[in-house]
């Protein structure tokens, strides 16, 4: 394995936010906010340039840290999938940061405040961790990245210090630890079996032995716990519904995608030699149940943020349909593309919806859906965003959600796996139900009392994010070729 030209950029994509964390922590106070905002263009430029390099060479971009190649050293590797995710993170994190400026400004008269310092540093940490997760090519390095992500996400959940949020954060932390230790155990076994943790080397060496199956089962289950796939969604609804809006947007839009991304890496890159039909069926079943169950519960939530959080539970379910679909011999490429478009569409749409929910809660002083009558006339932009986000969740055109469903259904058809069409279509119908629950009263003739006029800039940030989710519907053919760069051929074939 040798480094590609421009590969050092990969390390800088991780190091830049890390340096931001260290500087912010040392300087404290208002510096943290300024540093985070200053990082935004740098991070976006790095992600964009990396994507450009990957697209230009048509092959993964690799960097060997310290010049010592794996197995002894650590490498970073950017393929089409990771570059896409990095760009998504580089758009959503700055959007959340920009949105959060008003709420997490250090108050006048103090040098530093608890909420502000925590928020800004943890936001950078999430960014650093995500970039590392997308780029990492060493399973232990990825473990450190996962922990970095958890440690950054947990304090964001309880940043306002109410007991409910503390309980939610504690539950999140403990369950995430449960998941990471399970993952780590699998890593230990794989090292014991193959003497390396480099993804590429493992992918070449691994054969279907009991050791590998055990490791795969443990690592997968651990990652599922961190992704909150049904029935492991124990922590997600209270955590995502109680965090401040900007944090929820990042948690729901990006953080759960981090561990999902690793699950994909695990099965499609580390374990391509394993016959995947049975485990893929298990993952697909859990995903399908999640899509239906989460949507049904979203239908019953009295509060907008809880509804949106349960919708995340459902949408995570869709992601896992990528396992049976992309590993099938026929239509695998369609399934893979569909899965990725779903990841992106949900990331942008959900981030936008959480930001809008935040705007709404501040403007109305509550987020009880039963009291929304007429709210759309008071907050037209916010409800436009919620509606368009809902469009994507329902999978109606023109939206990324539709594109994802369309690709996934075609993959179902191509591979003859009809059963997965049930959650895809049924979940869409149920999503229609919960989006209707938000929009129908809001568009009715009632009158709501607006306590504080929302800032236009914050509403526009959310609208911009949802715009990206819609724009995915118009993704050119080249985009799908791009996310296939560096994807190993479907799992299960080799053995």
């Amino acid at each position: 394995m040798t480094a590609s030209p421009g590969g050092a950029l990969l390390v800088f994509a991780v190091l830049t936010p890390v340096a931001g964390i260290l500087l912010s922590f040392a300087l404290g106070g208002r510096a943290a906010e300024r540093i985070t905002l200053a990082l935004a263009p740098i991070g976006l430029a790095l992600a964009g340039f990396i994507a450009f390099l990957v697209a230009r060479s048509g092959a993964p971009l690799v960097y060997v840290i310290g010049g010592l190649p794996p197995p002894l050293g650590i490498a970073l590797r950017a393929d089409g999938a990771s570059a896409t995710m990095m760009v998504a993170a580089a758009l959503i994190v700055p959007a959340a940061a920009f949105y959060a400026r008003a709420k997490f400004a250090t108050p006048d008269g103090v040098a530093e405040s608890r909420g502000a310092l925590t928020f800004w540093i943890m936001l950078q940490a999430i960014w650093a961790a995500l970039n590392l997760i997308f780029l990492g090519a060493d399973l232990f390095n990825l473990y450190v990245a996962l922990e970095l992500l958890t440690f950054a996400a947990v304090p964001l959940v309880c940043i306002d210090g109410r007991p409910e949020t503390l309980a939610a954060a504690l539950r999140y932390l403990l369950f995430a630890l449960f998941g990471s230790i399970s993952y780590l155990l699998g890593v230990a076994l794989l090292y014991g079996g193959y003497g390396t943790l480099d993804i590429v080397l493992l992918g070449e060496r691994i054969a279907a032995t009991p050791l590998v199956w055990t490791a795969a089962a443990l690592m997968t289950a651990g990652l599922l716990a961190k992704t909150a796939l049904f029935p492991l969604h124990i922590w997600l609804p209270p955590a995502h519904a109680n965090a401040p809006a900007a944090a929820s947007a990042v948690l729901s839009g990006l953080v759960v995608k981090g561990s999902f991304f690793l699950t994909l890496r695990l099965w499609f890159y580390v374990l391509p030699a394993l016959p995947m039909a049975a485990p893929a069926a298990i993952l697909g079943t859990l995903g399908g149940c999640a899509a239906l169950f989460g949507s049904i519960l979203a239908l019953r939530q009295p509060r907008l943020k809880l509804l949106v959080a349960y919708s995340t539970v459902a949408q995570i379910g869709y992601l896992f349909l990528v396992f049976p679909l992309a590993s099938a011999p026929a239509g695998g490429a369609l399934g893979w593309s569909g899965g990725f478009v779903q990841v992106l569409a949900h990331a942008f749409a959900k981030a936008a919806m959480f930001l809008s929910a935040g705007v709404l809660a501040e403007a109305l002083g509550h987020d009880r859906i039963a009291h929304f009558s007429g709210a759309a006339r008071a907050l037209p932009l916010t409800f436009l965003t919620l509606g368009l986000g809902g469009l994507s969740l329902m999978g109606l055109p023109p939206s990324g959600g539709f594109e994802a469903k369309w690709l996934m259904l075609r993959a179902c058809a191509a591979s003859g796996q009809w059963i997965w069409a049930v959650p895809i279509l049924g979940g869409g119908l149920l999503a229609g139900g919960y989006v209707y629950r938000i929009l129908a009263p809001a568009l009715a003739d009632g009158v709501v009392e607006v306590k504080a006029r929302p800032q236009l800039s914050r509403e526009l940030v959310a609208l911009g994010l949802v715009g990206v989710a819609l724009a995915l519907a118009f993704a050119p053919e080249g985009f799908f070729e791009f996310i296939q760069i560096g994807r190993p051929l479907a799992g299960g074939g080799a053995s």
């Binding site: 050092a8 890390v18 964390i21 922590f25 404290g28 310290g66 010049g67 608890r114 947990v154 210090g161």
Partner: protein
């Protein structure tokens, strides 16, 4: 020497027994004490596995610092006598959980016992690299930590900083900037003070020693730092030292010093050795010691701050 296997079996039984006690004990405090004992016993297991570095770390962190953390937490929880705990699961669920845990443990045992032979190992690669990138380091573990897998180590220090900030962030808004609560409420008496006065300087010396020899012998930044941290905590328990204010610039600098220096040297590697996180051949050892010195500082400060908890009291 047929005693050794018998001793090994005894040690194993003891470790498992104490672990079971930790889970089964009725009383929270008893289970915490069980865990501290368990940590110390585990250090012995590590010695038997030819892992003196891990044994040092486990003794210092698993037994020592974690012990203080948990005992303090147990005491503070007891002080809040009314803390309501959830109900334990029913018998059926317990049996199910037990059976599943046993199955997973059984599968694990089976896999561990049937690990492939000959075992794959990076030891030869590490030996070979010791002449190159790991130049001048006699302790291969230090070489792995600071050179081959430097990226892990640096990020792990960032994790530590995030944990410190996370711990601070659960404090009250009004207390931000103040110092954490002292480790002991009451003024300690003579014995504790005496212990701290004697032990801390000696421990300090040993900690620095462990760090210094770490390049070639068992020891290194983390082990040394952990020992220093433990000494700092002994001093705090004796109220010879108080936790610093969390907005103190010195404290912040000490915390970020390790990863920051690591990062700077790592980036400088691009200019000096053509690779990020590479060290120029001739300066490898001094550079590594330089980085480690700051890491010791950061660790020695971070661990006690993690134990001390969030800021408490008034900021002014």
């Amino acid at each position: 020497m047929s005693v050794l296997p018998a001793l090994d079996v005894g040690l194993a039984l003891l470790v498992v027994g104490v672990a079971a006690w930790t889970i089964a004990a009725r009383n929270l405090f008893a289970s915490v004490v069980g865990y501290v004992a368990y940590g110390l016993l585990l250090a012995l297991v590590w010695v038997r596995l030819y892992a003196p570095d891990v044994a040092l770390t486990e003794a210092a962190v698993g037994g020592g610092v974690t012990g203080v953390l948990l005992v303090t937490a147990g005491k503070r929880l007891d002080a809040l006598a009314s803390a309501e705990v959830g109900v334990p699961p029913g018998r059926a669920l317990k049996i199910l959980a037990g059976a599943l845990a046993a199955l997973v443990a059984g599968a694990l045992a089976w896999v561990v016992l049937t690990l492939p032979s000959p075992a794959p190992s990076l030891a030869p690669a590490a030996a070979e690299a010791a002449a190159g990138p790991g130049a001048g380091l006699g302790n291969p573990i230090t070489a792995v930590l600071i050179s081959y897998r430097s990226f892990d180590t640096m990020l792990e220090k960032v994790v530590l900083i995030l944990a410190v900030l996370g711990v601070w962030s659960v404090g009250a808004d009004a207390a931000w900037g103040a110092a954490p609560a002292p480790l002991r409420k009451v003024r300690p008496d003579g014995a504790m003070i005496l212990l701290a006065q004697f032990l801390a300087p000696v421990g300090l010396l040993i900690g620095v020693h462990i760090f210094w020899v770490g390049a070639d012998a068992p020891g290194g930044a983390f082990q040394g730092g952990a020992l220093l941290a433990a000494m700092g905590m002994v001093a705090m328990m004796a109220r010879l030292a108080e936790p610093p204010r969390i907005d103190s610039r010195k404290l912040r600098l000490a915390l970020v010093a390790g990863p920051a220096v690591f990062l700077i040297v790592g980036v400088a590697g691009l200019a000096l050795a053509d690779n990020l996180f590479a060290y120029p051949q001739n300066f490898a050892k001094p550079l590594i010691l330089f980085i480690e010195a700051f890491m010791v500082l950061s660790i020695a400060v971070a661990l006690p701050m993690l134990v001390c908890g969030p800021p408490n009291g008034s900021p002014k």
